[in-house]
């Protein structure tokens, strides 16, 4: 799982310093040992070059030689005192290093390329189809790609995708916060780890099984909830229930999506909550706070940005979920027309694309679906970037942003 501490700011200056120090030492060592392929001689080589070597380190490492110098010097003397000992150092030289470093850098670059290619290729194939589109791509609800007069727009899909995902997030986040607090502060210590595993197992259930279970077993018990909500709030169009007892509706999909994103939101919230400084917690308790007051005053404020970004990541998952939604949502048709209510059927980007995979027979039609996929990619990209930026801007705790900005400036100056 991607953890929010992937970009932990305080480590960075130290990390950078260490990173700069390391290559220097070994580069020096190799430069001296490099030309000789006979490794048995290496020890003598070291002894011969010892003085020269440490002098070089002195000059090159500049203002802080203390870190690098003793290590190299110590190696030199240690090797020199045991000249008879055979060492297997492997091929010394820069070719292996260069190759390996190139592979590693290439793999890093490949990741960037892949993400760029996803955007570029989808865009390249979507543009011709979009150019032929006879209706507004962004604002039309019609979907009739292909033919002489292709007319297609994403308004309905966009609406269903966003509404279902936001409802899923609204349901999942409070429960996830509760579960995360249970694991970190309420569960007996022996129980906490198994409980965390069990929640993670929710993420291991394949989405097609969520879909089947959702429509066959879960949806029927949701029907009373749907009826109750629409009776109470039916005057709002969003909650207006169309006639009939259709359970394959946006609301059902949202609840199932909520279950599916629960493990993601829980895992990240849990990590953040556990990092709350013990001084904050015990300070609150020492002032006479109840356990809940302690959590409200110290844990929740500390973990707020983490929970927000976890929710965004969960939202991103919900936006792109395909098969569970495909199975649960009933597709609007003549008898059951499209309706903005959450108690009506609909199609999300993902479910529409998957549902019509058989229609990918002409480039025009495929282009229309790829355009829809591109919009989904852009939306999830924005949501995930937002989550990432929230984490980076404000680490756990309320005061971090200012300190972080200071650290950033110092780092910029040093590099």
């Amino acid at each position: 799982m991607s953890s929010p501490d992937g970009t932990a700011p305080p480590d960075r200056p130290d990390g950078t310093a260490a990173g700069q120090e390391e290559p220097k030492i070994e580069d020096l060592v190799h430069e001296d040992a490099g030309p000789t392929p006979r490794f048995e001689d290496l020890a003598e080589e070291h002894a011969e070059h010892e003085a020269e070597l440490s002098a070089e380190v002195m000059t090159e490492s500049g203002p802080e030689p203390a870190a690098a110098d003793p290590a190299v010097a110590a190696t030199g003397t240690a090797v020199a005192t045991e000249p008879g000992k055979k060492m297997e150092l492997g091929p010394v030289g820069h070719l292996g290093d260069r190759l390996f470093s190139a592979f590693a850098r290439g793999s890093g670059g490949l990741v960037v390329l892949i993400v760029a290619f996803v955007g570029i290729f989808l865009l390249a194939l979507a543009i011709p189809a979009l150019a032929d589109d006879k209706s507004s791509f962004l604002f039309s609800r019609i979907w009739e790609p292909g033919g002489d007069q292709p007319r297609f727009g994403i308004a309905a899909m966009f609406y269903t995708t966003v509404v279902s995902s936001i409802i899923a997030m609204l349901i999942a986040v409070p429960v996830a916060i509760g579960v995360a607090l249970f694991i970190t502060y309420y569960a007996p210590k022996r129980l906490a780890q198994p409980v965390a595993y069990a929640v993670d197992l929710l993420a291991a259930v394949p989405s097609i099984i969520y879909g089947l279970w959702g429509i066959l077993f879960f949806a029927p018990i949701l029907l009373p909830v749907i009826n109750g909500l629409s009776d109470a709030l039916g005057w709002i169009p969003l909650f207006e229930k169309p006639p009939g007892d259709n359970v394959g509706v946006v609301f059902t999909a949202s609840v199932v999506l909520a279950i599916m994103i629960l493990p993601v939101v829980t895992a990240i919230s849990r990590e953040i909550f556990a990092q709350t400084p013990i001084a904050h917690r015990e300070g609150a308790l020492a002032l006479g706070a109840t356990k809940w007051e302690m959590i409200r005053m110290s844990v929740l404020p500390y973990g707020r940005s983490g929970v927000v970004s976890a929710s965004m990541l969960g939202l991103g998952r919900a936006l792109g979920e395909t098969v569970a939604v495909l199975i649960i949502l009933s597709v609007p048709n003549g008898n059951d027309p499209w309706n903005s209510s959450i108690f009506a059927g609909g199609e999300t980007f993902a479910s529409k694309i998957a549902n019509n995979a058989a229609e990918f027979d002409s480039p025009e039609k495929t282009g229309a679906y790829i355009a829809a996929g591109l919009v989904l990619f852009v939306v999830t990209f924005l949501v995930n970037s937002a989550a990432r930026i929230i984490v980076d801007r404000s680490g756990p705790g309320g005061r971090r942003p200012r300190r972080k900005r200071g650290a950033g400036v110092a780092q910029g100056a040093s590099s």
């Binding site: 109840t290 395909t322 990619f377």
Partner: protein, 306 residues
């Protein structure tokens, strides 16, 4: 610190509360406790319910040898019999190819982030892109491969295309967990190796990666578990075949998710329903076994910090 932590309940209790709890505060505290425990119970219900449903409806087919050795060739939805061999093999083959492509890239990418690019702007860009890749929906990955493999290159819908799209989903999972593990390798080990004159690449291959090996295996297993259950790429990039096809470069291929998808509209017919739930149970078993194995490997190979 531990001593304080052990004393914690004492602070919490009535006896030490010098200000005295008002009824409202005590009530709120109890209410919060109840709600938090309730949240946990709510979260556990679907897990147990799903597992219970799938196991009770699917287990009996799994007990027959045919399930593990026969395909669905020539078997219609109304007929009983046949097995899931074609689908299990299809799922395993596609996942294996995915792993073969994704794991080297992921491990080298993590090596780049931890050993070469640490703290540089380029590494931050790569790291950001990995986060984005983590969030790419499976359907978008599938469409991307469709665009490249079928629309641009004009190849057919085959199992290998599915593997390629699954690579996009597995790569970030393995890369992130490998990165976390490499970060845990103590710098002393690297320095000791450098001090002996071992080149950096050998240090990484012989010291750093072996030390983190258990964690990398865990990441690979979790990544495999994620891609095995993916259905969307299968729907778009390969057709479902009831016959045994072990060639990922030619023809349609069975897979457990598409086997479920194939018969899910025929659940009124008992033989089809049995097969759907049995395939679902087989898939859950595969994924859960991988998950549990991953946890065990993680537990028994954790890097011991001093």
């Amino acid at each position: 610190m531990t001593a304080i932590a052990e004393n914690k309940p004492a602070y919490d209790g009535q006896a030490l509360d010098l200000t005295g709890k008002s009824g409202a505060r005590a009530f709120k505290n109890t209410l919060a406790t109840v709600l938090i425990v309730l949240a946990f119970v709510i979260a556990m219900i679907p897990l147990l319910w799903i597992l219970g449903t799938v196991i009770s409806k699917g287990y009996h087919l799994l007990l027959s040898a045919d399930w593990w050795s026969q395909s669905q060739r020539g078997i219609t939805v109304r007929r009983e019999g046949g097995g899931a061999y074609h689908a299990i093999m299809g799922t395993l083959i596609m996942s294996l190819i995915t792993a073969l492509i994704a794991v080297p890239i992921a491990v080298l990418g993590a090596v780049y982030l931890v050993e070469y690019g640490k703290g540089t702007r380029a590494a931050r860009v790569v790291s950001f892109m990995i986060d984005i890749l983590t969030g790419v929906p499976s359907i978008v990955a599938a469409l991307f491969i469709y665009a490249v493999w079928i629309t641009i290159f004009g190849f057919n819908r085959v199992g290998f295309a599915v593997s390629l799209s699954l690579v996009l989903l597995m790569l970030p999972v393995v890369l992130r967990s490998t990165e976390e593990m490499l970060k845990l390798v103590p710098d002393e080990l690297r320095e000791a190796s450098y001090a002996l004159g071992v080149p950096k690449w050998k240090t990484i291959m012989k010291v750093v990666v072996p030390t983190a090996f258990g964690g990398i295996v865990t990441g690979v297993m979790l990544g495999l578990a994620r891609v095995m259950g993916e259905t969307a790429p299968l729907l778009i990039l390969v057709g479902y075949s009831k016959n045994i096809n072990l060639n990922p470069f030619n023809g349609f291929m069975g897979a457990l998710p598409t086997m479920i998808n194939q018969d899910r509209t025929e659940l009124a017919l008992q033989p089809a329903a049995d097969r759907v739930w049995a395939a679902a149970l087989t898939l859950i078993l595969l994924v859960l076994v991988l998950n549990v194995l991953a946890r065990l490997v993680a537990r028994f190979s954790a890097i011991k910090s001093k």
